[in-house]
């Protein structure tokens, strides 16, 4: 091939680069490793993390069983190694599965349209806020303090230079739910959106209907957030919300130390053209057969550039496909049964511990302990990772732990946690 190019050496391929920009030495990296050594390296690193521990951590990342079918599907080269489906005629597999994903998310959330995924729940949150700003033309955001603290941090980062003012709404110290009175008080006609999460960061259910009523009374939108998608198997969908943003990690996406996950962004039909990200639509091919393609791309950066609804390009398609397979495997009855099991497990443990809040909860709750660090250390000795100490995010909850139970939590481990509590 060099011959064809009339070159003597591979290095001649960049002979035109100014010598000053070149690296005149080899990269200081170890020599290339064999597959076996690479597998071994990562196995060794893996063994340095918690291995064989039971865990009661939730807080936005949940330990659910991953059906084997999920990897079977996403490991197929045709899904794994294809690009964004711009060429519809040879991408109907991806396009069809995204259309199904969009449909199932609408069924789950009660929204009319859902996009093909965002990076994760935390980045979907500011995208929802920005969307509300575009829709309402207003620039104040009210966010419940019961929204995941890291989501709120991301919201602040994204909105800092967008001329958006973010204000927080406290929670009721008894119920652990958003303080609706304070919301009512702070919500006025300058507010673009009210952001709530349910079940909230404490695991407590919010009153979406009332929050929506308060927001809507002022012409503001209600943005409903979720971190625990499994809850939607049992909980009333947020039909009163205008925009739904959330995290699908619970749907067969491994915790994987924080990512990759998949974010959701869905809305009422009338806001469709303000959605960021990719959308797949149904159409026909030239022979009249049903076909799917990417659509409404006039919202997107590659067409609209600085006027786009967002800069998002690469999304989380393969991870969204995992969620699609998960929803297919569990289906109508399964997602409900799964959610019910989560509920039962959490309430089994919840009943044995000192719960900090009185509000109804799904599979997470806050427990009060004397010394969270000591409590967790004691459990660690039993190969159990306890709850998340809340002091870091909520100084006033220094003596509290956030605990989560899923269908994977075994009674024997829950009993051990309860024992530790009993002292």
């Amino acid at each position: 091939m060099l011959d064809v190019l009339g070159l003597a050496r591979l290095e001649d391929l960049y002979a035109h680069l100014p010598p000053a920009v070149l690296l005149h030495r080899d990269l200081q990296l170890p020599r290339g490793k064999s597959e076996y050594e690479i597998a071994d390296y990562f196995r060794a690193r893996g063994s340095e993390n918690a291995n064989g521990f039971a865990s009661f951590l939730g807080a936005g990342v949940y330990n659910h069983y991953r059906p084997v079918l999920v990897d079977t599907v996403v490991s197929r080269g045709e899904f794994l190694t294809s690009y964004t489906p711009y060429q519809a005629e040879i991408s109907q597999g991806t396009l069809t599965s995204i259309f199904e994903f969009q449909t199932m998310l609408c069924q789950l959330t009660g929204m009319d349209v859902a996009n093909a995924s965002m990076y994760d729940g935390s980045s979907a949150t500011p995208e929802a806020a920005l969307m509300a700003r575009r829709i309402t033309g207003r620039s104040r955001i009210l966010v419940a303090r019961t929204v995941h603290p890291e989501y709120r941090e991301v919201l602040r980062t994204y909105t800092k230079y967008e001329n958006i003012d973010v204000d927080e709404i406290d929670y009721d110290p008894d119920s652990g739910a958003l303080d609706l009175a304070q919301l009512e008080q702070k919500c006025d006609q300058t507010v673009a959106a009210v952001l709530i999460q349910s079940p909230n960061f404490f695991g407590v259910l919010e009153n979406t209907k009332q929050a929506a009523a308060i927001a809507h009374a002022q012409g503001a939108l209600l943005v409903f957030l979720f971190t625990e998608a499994v809850s939607l198997g049992l909980l009333e969908p947020p039909r009163d919300a205008d925009i739904v943003a959330g995290e699908l990690q619970s749907f067969a996406i491994a915790p994987s130390y924080g990512g990759p996950y998949a974010g959701v962004l869905a809305s009422k039909e009338k806001y469709m053209r303000q959605l960021p990200g990719r959308l797949v639509g149904e159409t026909k091919d030239s022979r009249g057969n049903r076909a799917f393609c990417l659509t409404l791309s006039a919202r997107e950066q590659h067409i609209r550039r600085e006027k786009a609804t967002s800069n998002i390009c690469t999304n989380q398609a393969l991870i969204a496909l995992m969620a699609t397979v998960f929803m297919t495997v569990y289906g109508k009855a399964g997602l409900r049964e799964l959610a019910s099991q989560n509920l039962s497990k959490a309430h089994y443990l919840g009943a044995k511990l000192k719960r900090r809040f009185t509000g109804p909860y799904f599979n997470e709750f806050v427990a009060t302990v004397d010394d969270p660090a000591a409590f967790n250390r004691a459990l660690e000795e039993n190969k159990i990772i306890g709850g998340l100490p809340l002091g870091r995010f909520y100084p006033e909850l220094k003596g509290s732990l956030l605990l989560c139970c899923t269908e994977m939590s075994l009674r024997q481990h829950m009993d051990r946690v309860a024992e530790e509590m009993a002292g």
Binding site: D120, L232, P260, T328, Y330
Partner: protein
């Protein structure tokens, strides 16, 4: 004659909702080992939903067939060359998929104690060090989830830096050849976009830049090699022009596949850049993602990097959150860890030999350029790096354009190149073969494109109505946008291809 592909039956398949049948299911849960709780009692009856209307009900075999059948309708790297310019669709070694699924790596919670996460943190640090060596930068954050997310992070860093100096400044200069994410990002960071035209060599016009840069210029956002596959030869001058006015040089590193091991942005004046790990460092694209877009900076921008940062204390890793000048988080947790694992595995497989991969990428792009130049109009005479951009100007005479040539390529057995980008090339064909292609596949691709050039002359109608061989013929994208159907309902859209199931 088409020799790359032959026709074969592929299975039809309705949508999940159309094959659902009440009572079917593909799951089985363990028996509950605790008392069952009544949802209405625990949650309040009004909080409990009715059944999820329309949600799928299928058996395991239905499910696997559904997705297997769908998958066969896709083209993929595993099936052949995927020469999308700017996308770096290289082959993704399967060992990466395996290591990302290592139990001790994929079943770890981001909030488990640092003491129980040392292996994961060690991986992150090792990757950071490798990326710094490759880029020549001083510090890097692995938090951004994709290239555009990295761009936003980088622009916020630029802004934070200027604000810390007392003036955020007003605009960011972007060449007209830039990727769409660049201007979109700039606006999200609260800056105005100042467009600058490329010169006739496809490069940034340094004289124009010199005229444009002033005290209100926050940065120049430059892709290098740029989107026409040309290295910005005056990069050192460019950096100097900017720095002289206190502006910063942001490099979009999406095309780092052309540079790794050859040249380092940190050595030619770049202040801040992002990498697309899912391109250069080989995470499979997965039909659209996930990605990872680390942002590397020079020391002066380090204080502003997102929280948390890795730090070393008493021989172990920990997360440091206390960074008063930080722009804050751009996402929860620590980034797309699973993608980071793949990137490190890729770097380990090549090690110091990474340069060889780069050279092969250059060779393949230039080889294709050479083969295609007789039939297609190269956009710029300047030497190509890892990709080459043609225009459809010769074919346009016959009414055929880059979009229709692309569709005809499908009949010839290939995924098309990137169509109509960059915008500065009228009717662009943007071709990036990557280093993982062999000569045979490249030769076949060139033959196909040359054959289409002939078809365009002799039988333009054949090209204009392509593809002819696919199970789905030319898709009506205009119709899709005119009356959007974005989800399945029992009534909307076309009837399913076969009658509903049992």
């Amino acid at each position: 004659m088409i020799t790359k592909v032959r026709q074969h039956p592929s299975q039809n398949e309705p949508l999940l909702f159309e094959i659902s049948s009440p009572g079917k299911h593909a799951y089985q849960l363990p028996d509950l080992d605790v008392p069952s709780v009544d949802p209405a009692e625990a949650l309040g009856a009004t909080n409990v939903r009715a059944e999820i209307e329309g949600f799928p009900e299928v058996s395991e075999v239905d499910a696997i067939r559904h997705f297997t059948r769908l998958s066969t309708w896709n083209y993929a790297i595993d099936l052949g060359l995927y020469p999308l310019g700017s996308c770096t669709m290289k082959y993704n070694p399967r060992i990466n998929e395996m290591v990302a699924r290592t139990e001790g790596l994929c079943w770890i919670h981001p909030y488990q104690p640092d003491s129980l996460s040392q292996g994961a943190m060690e991986i992150l640090n090792t990757l950071e060090q490798a990326l710094l060596e490759i880029t020549g930068m001083d510090a890097v954050t692995l938090q951004p989830a994709a290239g555009a997310h990295g761009e936003l992070t980088g622009m916020l860093l630029v802004r934070a830096k200027h604000e810390a100096s007392g003036n955020p400044r007003r605009s960011v200069i972007i060449p007209d050849s830039a990727h769409g994410t660049n201007p979109a990002t700039v606006r999200m960071a609260g800056y105005e976009v100042a467009n600058i035209a490329s010169n006739d060599r496809g490069m940034l016009d340094t004289a124009a830049l010199e005229r444009m840069v002033d005290d209100n210029t926050a940065a120049l956002m430059l892709t290098n090699p740029n989107t026409v596959g040309v290295f910005e030869e005056h990069i050192a001058d460019i950096a100097q022009i900017l720095h002289a006015k206190g502006a910063l040089l942001y490099m979009d590193g999406a095309n780092m596949n052309a540079l790794a091991g050859i040249a380092r942005p940190g050595d030619f004046g770049v202040d801040v850049m992002h990498l697309n790990l899912h391109k250069t460092f080989s995470t499979p694209h997965g039909g659209g993602g996930p990605g990872s877009g680390p942002v590397a900076v020079k020391q002066h921008l380090e204080p502003f990097l997102p929280t948390p940062r890795l730090s070393r204390l008493n021989d172990s890793w920990r997360w440091t959150h206390d960074r008063p000048n930080s722009i804050g988080r751009v996402r929860a947790f620590y980034g797309n860890f699973g993608v980071l694992v793949r990137a490190l595995a890729y770097i380990q497989a090549h090690g110091s030999g990474l340069k060889l991969a780069t050279l092969d990428a250059l060779l393949n792009a230039n080889y294709l350029r050479k083969l295609l130049e007789p039939a297609y109009q190269i956009a710029y005479a300047a030497p190509s790096m890892h990709e080459c951009v043609f225009s459809d100007s010769r074919q346009a005479a016959h009414g055929v354009n880059t979009g229709t040539i692309a569709k005809r390529l499908i009949d010839h057995g290939f995924h098309p190149y990137t169509v109509s980008f960059p915008l500065i090339v009228h009717g662009a064909l943007m071709i990036e073969p990557t280093e993982t292609e062999g000569k045979h596949e490249l030769d076949q691709f060139a033959e196909a494109l040359i054959a289409i050039a002939q078809e365009s002359e002799q039988d333009p109608q054949l090209v204009l109505t392509a593809p002819h061989s696919t199970r789905t013929s030319k898709v009506d994208e205009v119709g899709a946008a005119r009356k959007p159907i974005l989800k399945w309902t029992p009534t909307a859209g076309s009837p399913p291809p076969a009658r509903p199931s049992d």
